[in-house]
């Protein structure tokens, strides 16, 4: 077992671990203000959604030519961010990296929050959400949209289980140790702890289940984002018609996800005073991981842009030109250079991998990752094979409207709410795993 704890660990004891890690479970005033703010924001956004429900998708900037706008870009972004759970817990966990233990739950929470809201984001893009069930009733199994829906549901379920199963011992601990909690919360812990007694056999069982899920989530996670990419790549449209869209999306997802985890780590560490558990070392390693996945993503970007740009196929000239030096070039280069290349280069400097700079760089990467999805989704639609003719002037371009932006912000708010509640309801760092590790260290 790798020795990865820093010197703080030496001072840890079982009691201290429990005290430290359960301390965040309370409804502090600070949290109430934060949550109240989010709720107020969400209400405003919901009002715009009601407007869209009543007036239809006409309130958005979408039109006959650009029928996928920021809703779909946002959806792709959410699915991307949701993929990180798989990378951290599954891939790194199974390779045997124990340093991910304190942050794996954060990664899982992020995965669950984004996957949950991704489903809602898709609904916001529907003109008649009351006909949602028609997708199941009349959907064609040949359509990537049906695959997408199936795989999103599956991934969400797996992520929930991956979050929940290692939580069971901790929930039971909460039930026993925490006092002065609201009644509903006590009841919740009681139901969710499933009569956990903490015996050897139970640990063995959940560890077995956990392992099965860790393996299962890898193909499903790859599938979810590959299928999302197929929503585009299975068409003949310029800029989407690419056989490497699957790996391109998956590698991009890891970039967004790592950045999201780094940001969450920073705020959780600071707010819940978890410096002894989420250490500089964790930031350093996560940042290095971010550099690695960024490099992979840059590699795919080069392929995705350079190959068509070198050939300049007649049908692609306009699209590529638009990205490289035309209408969308500013956004394109900001996203590629400012949001990917410069940040990962900065992260190669050790000092930049300290918590604060790493967090700030991650914010830039995450924002760029959102706009990157926009660059993938929207410009292609403005270059159809048949010329855009006999349409209103406004159809020649796409600009999201206020309701559209508000609804998108609303979905982001929902993600923050889910993350906030989950991190307040349960220990963010697995208590029993920390204890286990402590025991192991003491043995040595």
């Amino acid at each position: 077992m790798a020795k990865v704890r820093n010197e703080n660990t030496v001072l840890l004891s079982e009691e201290k671990i429990e005290r430290d890690l359960l301390s965040n479970i309370n409804w502090s005033n600070k949290f109430k203000i934060w949550f109240g703010f989010l709720t107020a924001l969400l209400v405003v956004c919901l009002w715009f959604y009601v407007l869209q429900l009543r007036k239809g998708l006409g309130v958005t900037g979408m039109n006959d030519i650009v029928s996928w706008g920021i809703y779909i870009s946002n959806f792709v972004f959410f699915i991307a961010a949701a993929l990180i759970g798989m990378l951290i817990s599954s891939v790194l966990g199974m390779i045997g990296y124990t340093w991910i233990k304190p942050i794996s739950r954060i990664a899982e929470i992020i995965a669950v929050a984004f996957a949950m809201v991704a489903g809602i984001v898709i609904i916001t893009d529907m003109g008649r959400p009351d006909r949602l069930h028609h997708v199941l009733l009349y959907g064609r199994i040949q359509s990537p949209i049906i695959w997408d829906i199936s795989v999103v549901m599956t991934y969400l379920m797996l992520s929930l289980l991956l979050l929940y199963i290692p939580l069971i011992p901790d929930i039971s601990l909460c039930k026993e140790k925490l006092t002065g909690l609201p009644k509903f919360q006590k009841k919740l812990y009681k139901v969710l702890s499933l009569g956990w007694a903490g015996n050897e056999a139970q640990y063995k069982t959940i560890k077995r289940y956990f392992k099965i899920l860790l393996i299962l989530i890898i193909p499903v996670a790859l599938a979810i984002h590959t299928v999302t990419s197929w929503l585009f790549a299975m068409t003949l449209r310029t800029g989407w018609d690419s056989p490497i869209f699957g790996p391109y999306f998956v590698s991009g997802a890891f970039v967004a996800g790592c950045a999201a985890v780094l940001i969450a780590m920073y705020f959780i560490q600071k707010n819940y005073k978890l410096q002894a558990y989420i250490t500089d070392m964790h930031f350093d390693r996560m940042a290095k991981l971010l550099v690695l996945v960024s490099l992979v993503y840059v590699y795919f970007n080069i392929n995705e842009i350079l190959v068509p740009a070198y050939k300049f196929k007649p049908s692609e000239v306009k699209h590529i030109g638009n990205l490289l030096y035309g209408h969308d070039s500013l956004l394109f280069w900001l996203v590629q250079g400012g949001g990917l290349i410069v940040p990962f280069m900065l992260l190669m400097i050790p000092k930049m991998r300290k918590p604060l700079p790493a967090m700030l760089i991650s914010v830039v990467i995450l924002v760029a990752a959102w706009f990157k999805r926009y660059v993938i989704v929207v410009p292609t639609q403005l270059e159809p094979y048949l010329p855009i003719q006999n349409v209103p002037e406004s159809f020649h371009s796409y600009m999201p409207t206020l309701p559209e932006i508000a609804i998108t912000v609303g979905t982001l708010v929902m993600v923050l709410m889910i993350i906030s509640v989950l991190t307040k309801l349960f220990p963010v760092v697995p208590v029993w795993e920390m204890k286990e590790e402590l025991l192991e260290e003491q043995h040595q």
């Binding site: 199994i141 040949q142 199936s150 599956t154 069971i168 009569g195 899920l213």
Partner: protein
């Protein structure tokens, strides 16, 4: 040089004005078509028009010729139609300025068919009788048959029961949008003309093709159209039959249904197994 340009400036308008008035010699004006403007003639004319003329004269009746001075004009227009057949024949044959001369490219009969096509747009037009004079028009008759030994279409031309030799016979297969020419052959002393037929040509389910044959001797023309069993039967398959990725939901490919459901049920099977196991966690000890 300067003077020349000035001269041109003065002369050019006069020249253009002169162009408006396209004189046709009187003798030429009186020329008439020996061919009757029947449906076949009009159809031939339409095809020719679309091949040679539409690029300048535009779609007939739409009045959309290319911009040109003097304007080519629309063949259905008053300016065209008010002229005698002979004038139009003369103009197409000889051309002027932007209008090419078609005498080297088109047969006389073809030019007449173009005129037949134009006249088709004029309800008041009655084709003037052509004076055949002393020429005796022979009554031609044709019999079509198929010789399976040599894969050939055989056309026998007779007049008053006698085989006619040296008669030009043209044969074609009628298609949806035009015709496929089989050839142009003169009859032998037995009055027979032979045409190669490729048995792989697409026909109907029974292998039938519609053959159009035309025999001509002087101004005497005989046409025949017949449905004949000439080629291998075509098997028609329903294009939307069977299972396809692009078809309806109920026509999804089996492999896709199997793979999709297998994968989904395997994964959800494991999920359900784990969930049930979790509910039994209490009893584990």
């Amino acid at each position: 040089m300067k003077n020349f340009v000035l001269l041109l400036l003065f002369v050019l308008p006069l020249f253009v004005a002169a162009q408006d008035n396209w004189q046709v010699p009187t003798a030429e004006q009186e020329k008439l078509s020996p061919y009757v403007f029947d449906n076949d003639m009009v159809k031939d004319g339409e095809v020719l028009y679309e091949n040679f003329c539409i690029s300048c004269h535009g779609t007939v009746t739409k009045n959309n010729p290319i911009v040109f001075v003097p304007s080519p004009g629309d063949p259905a227009s008053e300016k065209f139609q008010s002229q005698p057949d002979g004038s139009i024949f003369y103009k197409i044959s000889n051309g002027r300025g932007g209008m090419p001369s078609f005498a080297p490219t088109l047969e006389e009969e073809e030019i007449w068919s173009l005129i037949g096509y134009f006249r088709n747009f004029n309800r008041e037009y009655v084709q003037p009788e052509f004076d055949y004079g002393d020429e005796v028009l022979s009554e031609l008759a044709m019999v079509l048959s198929y010789d399976p030994n040599v894969d050939k279409l055989v056309v026998k031309v007779t007049s008053n029961g006698e085989p006619k030799s040296g008669i030009q016979v043209g044969a074609a297969v009628k298609g949806l949008f035009g015709k496929f020419i089989l050839g142009n052959v003169g009859t032998n002393e037995k009055g027979l003309a032979w045409f190669d037929v490729d048995r792989n040509m697409p026909g109907d389910e029974e292998g039938n093709l519609t053959v159009q044959v035309r025999a001509q001797e002087g101004y005497s023309i005989k046409k025949a159209e017949e449905k004949m069993q000439l080629v291998n039967p075509t098997e028609r398959t329903n294009l939307i039959a069977g299972r396809h990725l692009w078809s309806k939901a109920i026509k999804a490919p089996i492999w896709l249904i199997v793979v999709f459901n297998l994968v989904i049920s395997c994964i959800w099977g494991i999920i359900i197994y784990i969930i049930i196991g979790l509910f039994r966690l209490k009893k584990v000890s």
